[in-house]
């Protein structure tokens, strides 16, 4: 039989053990299946709990006007605004709108480049989710000669 003191000691040992387990390098950041399977930009943002996005010149999105192949289209996106929580890249007419989500820390600049697939000509969105709950975006229309999702 454990007395109260022993039980407490055991709890501490277990807590310490859990703490160590939490320090494992690949922390299980939950992949948001609902957001990534959402068909529309609105549905993806809703799944992520984002506020209605506001167009902002402080969010930037650069990429080609015309992409010969939708299999690999390079975009650079980011924001000059401070206190960004997440940066998203979305393609309106892809089978699933959300392409990528980057969770920032003070050790990383809020600027990324990424090669993505585009199923067809579409508007592409860069969205910044701020610490204070606001949501800003930039938009760019890209024409795709040959689609890249069924390739």
């Amino acid at each position: 039989m454990f007395n109260r003191r022993q039980t407490l000691q055991h709890s501490w040992a277990v807590a310490a053990l859990l703490g160590t387990a939490g320090m494992l390098p690949l922390k299980a950041s939950a992949y948001d299946k609902t957001a990534f399977e959402a068909k529309s930009i609105a549905a993806a943002l809703k799944a992520l709990g984002a506020a209605a996005p506001v167009l902002s010149s402080d969010v930037t999105l650069t990429g080609p006007e015309i992409a010969d192949s939708g299999a690999s289209v390079m975009f650079a996106f980011g924001t000059s605004l401070p206190n960004v929580k997440r940066l998203l890249l979305l393609v309106d007419k892809n089978p699933s709108a959300l392409v990528a989500s980057f969770q920032l820390s003070p050790a990383v600049e809020s600027q990324f480049s990424l090669r993505i697939k585009m199923a067809q000509s579409s508007d592409v969105y860069a969205v910044a989710l701020m610490q204070d709950g606001k949501t800003f975006f930039a938009k760019r229309e890209v024409k795709v000669t040959l689609g890249g999702c069924g390739e």
């Binding site: 690949l26 992949y31 892809n94 699933s96 392409v99 969770q103 050790a107 600049e109 090669r115 999702c149």
Partner: protein, 105 residues
């Protein structure tokens, strides 16, 4: 067994630009095989970046990131000798971790 990611770090003052080329099929789940059967999605879902063992960036990716993903980001407050580790995990549970050391300017 997955192939290593190619990581190139270009230091600029106290920042470092990191270019990453990962080795992954990134199957979209939209394609059909010769018999008209849908090929299941197979893609990287989670990416983690550690600077000297401390997590500084995480990303979640869907099926629309290109095959053999190429991406770029910039770390702040880095110096020669710092270690940059990049890890990924795909939807089959496969993982990969690679590490490079930041060289001098």
């Amino acid at each position: 067994m997955s192939e290593p990611s190619r990581i190139r770090v270009v230091p600029a003052g106290t920042n470092a630009t990191v270019r990453v080329l990962m080795n992954h099929e990134m199957e979209s789940g939209q394609r059909k095989d010769d018999n008209g059967k849908l090929i299941p999605a197979w893609h990287i879902q989670e990416v983690t970046v550690l600077l000297n063992g401390k997590q500084v960036l995480t990303a979640e990716w869907g099926t629309a990131v290109s095959k053999n993903p190429f991406w770029q980001f910039t770390l702040k407050g880095t110096k020669a000798g710092d270690k940059v580790a990049i890890q990924w995990k795909d939807n089959r549970g496969d993982t990969r971790a690679d590490e490079v050391m930041i060289g001098s300017i």
